[in-house]
């Protein structure tokens, strides 16, 4: 089914069954009310092109536990990924608590995309912490740490099932990450 350019009536025209079926029935079936199903409750509608809409569902993954890395290039942070059906763009928020064993050392989190699309993590959309003391107590996860978010509108996605995975890195020392949260609003 697809949307049809709406018929323009003229005086004394007979409105045929075919015209009804194309201009009324088929077009009504392309509307948000026709496409709404209880199974998709709380999904929202977005356009997918000219005269076409579809439902999308937000998703998020939250991990409270601590992970560490000494990698100076982005590496996966365990269990911090979310898979959603997207169009060609998605709004992504990442949040994490970050600390480092060394003073004045960069600790950063970004995300990569896999699945229908492959996009590498980048400093362009990272969150970071620097200029703090190194943690003094290795058993105190909230010592010398900062928690913050960043938003990124990811465009150029291939529509389909895309997975967004948080990754971390450090400038030096060992980075410690907790309370990691990734939220995706597919468009």
């Amino acid at each position: 089914m697809a949307w049809n350019t709406t018929y323009v009536a003229s005086t004394n025209d007979t409105f045929t069954a075919a015209q009804w079926n194309q201009n009324v029935r088929d077009n009504l079936l392309e509307t948000e009310a026709a496409k709404a199903t209880l199974a998709n409750k709380h999904d929202y509608f977005v356009s997918t092109g000219a005269n076409a809409i579809t439902n999308r569902r937000s998703a998020s993954t939250y991990v409270s536990g601590i992970v560490t890395t000494s990698s100076t290039s982005y590496t996966d942070l365990a269990s911090s990924s979310v898979t959603v059906t997207t169009g060609t763009s998605a709004l992504v928020w990442i949040s994490a608590g970050m600390a480092n064993s060394s003073s004045n050392a960069l600790t950063a989190v970004s995300f990569r995309v896999s699945g229908a699309t492959t996009v590498a993590s980048s400093d362009t959309w990272m969150i970071s912490s620097d200029g703090t003391n190194g943690w003094s107590n290795p058993y105190e996860p909230y010592d010398e740490h900062n928690r913050r978010s960043a938003a990124k509108l990811v465009t150029g996605l291939n529509a389909g099932s895309n997975t967004f995975t948080m990754q971390g890195k450090v400038g030096s020392g060992t980075g410690r990450f907790n309370n990691r949260d990734i939220v995706v609003l597919p468009l």
Partner: protein, 181 residues
């Protein structure tokens, strides 16, 4: 009002008033333009063949406030909030921002939010905003965004605050934005 699957017409049949009212009038009244009541709304699925309007909300408090001494549980500051009340489904994306500074070296400032109304969620360290800086008297503004699971209905989102192991901590330019789904 309820949605009816649009009928398939057959040549030679006359369209009755009942058919018009059911298939055109009533179905059209289920569409977003018919139920829209305010600018800036989004539309989400509520049931089979039913969408509902959702309005985003935000609240901002500009003025400076503080917690003078060590406070390890979240509390209100003198200028309450910011807070926003709106109708949600079972999900909302909540983003909040705050500018914070320490009045002593290497102290920690924390902000979070609570939910009340149809849902009760206490402010939590799990999704808090944390500023832990070496510098004294240096303002830093940042935000945190999370997605929460709710009971559908009228929910109020309100920011709250605590210090690290000492105070005073100062807060200003506080804002909370809620996208109900």
């Amino acid at each position: 009002m309820a949605w009816t699957a649009p009928m398939t017409a057959v040549d030679g049949n006359l369209l009755t008033a009942t058919e018009y009212n059911q298939h055109i009038r009533d179905n059209t009244l289920m569409l977003a333009p018919a139920i829209a009541s305010a600018p800036g709304s989004i539309f989400v699925i509520d049931d089979n063949n039913r969408v509902v309007e959702r309005q985003m909300g935000s609240s901002y408090v500009a003025g400076e406030d503080n917690i003078k001494i060590y406070q390890n549980t979240f509390k209100e500051v003198q200028q309450a909030g910011p807070m926003v009340t709106l109708r949600t489904g079972t999900r909302a994306i909540v983003s909040y921002a705050c500018e914070m500074k320490n009045r002593v070296d290497n102290a920690q400032a924390n902000a979070s939010f609570e939910v009340s109304g149809a849902t009760v969620i206490p402010p939590s360290n799990e999704y808090r905003l944390v500023h832990d800086a070496l510098e004294t008297d240096t303002w830093t503004r940042m935000s945190v965004t999370t997605r929460v699971t709710l009971n559908a209905g009228i929910n109020t989102f309100r920011m709250k605050y605590h210090t690290g192991n000492r105070g005073p901590i100062h807060f200003r330019r506080r804002e909370i934005v809620v996208l109900p789904l």
